[in-house]
Amino acid sequence: MAFFFEVLIGGLLAGVMYSLVAIGFVLIYKASGVFNFAQGAMVLFAALTFVSLLERGVPFWLSFLVTLATMIALALLIERAVLRPLVGRSPITLFMATLGLAYIIEGVAQALWGAQVHGLELAISDAPLALGGLLLSQFDLFAAATAAALVVLLSLLFNRTRIGLALRAVADDPRAAMSVGIRLPRVWAVVWAVAGFVGLVAGLLWGARLGVQFSLSLVVLKALPVLIIGGFTSISGAIVGGLIIGASEKLAEVYLGPLIGGGIENWFPYVLALLFLLVRPAGLFGERAIERV
């Protein structure tokens, strides 16, 4: 039984990592209705920039700030060059544009910093920690704490600041928000910048775990089922979705894996998400729109 709980909690903690990527999606989706496939590329880009600076001897905090600045600049650029010309186009078109964006960011990241794997040490021991009879990864606990801090930070940002208010207004009804003088492009730029920040945090954690390498951009594929389960518009949904995916993926790997063969974690989340979709098409926390005709 303890083994089960270990697996479960391990999975839940791994799920937090998925949630971190998914939160970036939710932010952007809420504010601009874009399903941002480039989120993974942004994670890669942030991590790669950070680690390359670090390797060139730049101090940790300076690297962090420089990377953050880069991500903000990138967000502004994206808003200007991609989002603004595509205002009012169908969600599918916007999605495909972010596919293109993902290619560009990946290409630039690798052209700048090379394609080799970089190790990233965040000075957190990955040694298992015995807690109440269960062995848990310290790193995972740290990641969970970071995620929690991030969520608190974001909720402060959105509930206590003017830009947060504007964001919520835009998410609610873009046209009404515009009519009361909220400038959409600014909100978008801010949100993409925040998403860039979230991407940076996720990139550091993922990078520390897997090494900073190209496959980081593929975490986007893990985040998608998370979003489906949690709903595209809810940050708490992203967290819960991540936990569900993480836990069930681990449990399936451990208990189902031996039966049908290993390596099922690639597709299992999707099948799970699909089942969820058929039962609750709008996700756990998403709102289902009434179709007006």
């Binding site: 969600p91 999605f95 560009i104 999707y270 699909l274 979709l277």
Partner: protein, 355 residues
């Protein structure tokens, strides 16, 4: 400009149903097809057949397969490569296990199996829309290669799931030479394009577009949504399956499941975005672009002094260029190269008048 349209008028509805209403267009197409079947095999060399023409034709076919689903029926899919893989492995197994089956029949059966698999992954499309559907097609994209690798029966217990093409014998002829493989590919692709062009102009094609443009209204006028969408998945799957089996048989000779990964799906999606969503011609234009652009890029890089740009950088450059082009096309010409061509044609038909 080249056209003399006056005097070409329809006296039967069948006149309007032809692919091209104008005689000059029909003659042009006939000349092109004739050239492709007779001129190219005489003029081309092995490099052109194997490295350019065959992949171009097959990517066009795969593009058409995805275009039917995404461009016409409006169902976004990132599982194209998975259906190609199903087609390839199914055709391989038919060829392997049912010895008396002719090659062409194996190809078609491969397509049919892919169609069935596509229907299964298309089933959720009735309840979910837009990028929610991505989940279903991505599930296919991850599940299929896993299955093909996991169960070695599919690859006849070969190491890491690699399969090799059977000898390309048909009616006593050996199509194994590059020119032969080209001709075989061309024949299948031409036939399927003819069928596809008919399809999109038929009732089913209109129903697809109706579902794409506004599915509520489509349901209200009596278009059966489930049947229409599932047929889109099935037919798209069939096209991709045949493209996949030819990919294995006439293009590469040996493939493994991971040859049909997500990047291949993206590639096919880019073909139809650049070529033109909802266009038959666009698939050729997009595929030509995807095939020729890297060749062009590496040739250009070859002109530069050696050592300035290494091979890895060319790949990065290519990625950036594709990404940029996708965005430019979506912004400036969402209907792709086909639309540019169409505009040019309209202009020449009115020339020298402006409108």
């Amino acid at each position: 400009m080249l056209y003399r349209e006056a005097g070409q008028f329809s006296v039967r509805y069948a006149d309007d149903r032809r692919f091209f209403r104008l005689r000059q267009d029909r003659l042009g197409l006939a000349a092109l097809v004739l050239f492709a079947f007779i001129g190219v095999p005489l003029l081309g060399n092995d490099y052109w057949f194997s490295a350019i023409l065959i992949p171009f034709l097959l990517l066009s076919l795969a593009g058409l397969g995805l275009n039917l689903l995404t461009g016409y029926a409006g169902q976004l899919s990132l599982g194209s490569a998975a259906f190609m893989a199903v087609g390839a492995f199914a055709a391989y197994n038919f060829e392997l296990r049912v010895a008396w089956l002719p090659l062409l029949a194996s190809l078609l059966l491969g397509g049919l199996v892919a169609a069935l698999v596509a229907v299964v992954f298309g089933l959720p499309s009735l309840r979910i829309k837009g990028f929610y559907l991505l989940v279903s097609t991505l599930a296919a994209q991850f599940f299929v290669p896993w299955t093909l690798t996991r169960f070695s029966w599919f690859s006849n217990d070969s190491a890491s799931g690699v399969i090799s093409a059977p000898p390309l014998l048909m009616a006593g002829y050996d199509f194994s030479s590059p020119a032969g493989r080209y001709l075989l590919t061309l024949a299948v692709v031409s036939a399927l394009f003819w069928l596809g062009a008919n399809l999109v102009r038929s009732e089913l094609g209109r129903n697809w577009m109706a579902v794409r443009d506004m599915d509520t209204a489509a349901a209200v006028i009596g278009i059966p949504l489930l049947k229409t969408k599932l047929l889109a998945f099935a037919i798209s799957g069939f096209y991709l399956g045949v493209a996949g089996s030819l990919w294995a048989f006439t293009y590469l000779g040996t493939v493994e499941p991971h040859g049909f990964d997500l990047n291949r799906s993206f590639q096919i999606l880019f073909i139809i975005i650049i070529g033109g969503l909802g266009s038959i011609l666009g698939n050729f234009l997009g595929a030509a672009f995807i095939v020729l652009f890297p060749v062009l890029l590496s040739n250009l890089a070859g002109l530069l002094p050696t050592g300035l740009i290494d091979a890895g950088q060319i790949e990065n450059l290519q990625k950036m260029a594709f990404g940029t082009l996708i965005i430019i096309f979506l912004i400036k010409e969402p209907e792709g190269l086909a639309r540019l061509w169409q505009r040019f044609r309209e202009r020449t038909r009115r020339w020298p008048l402006r409108h």
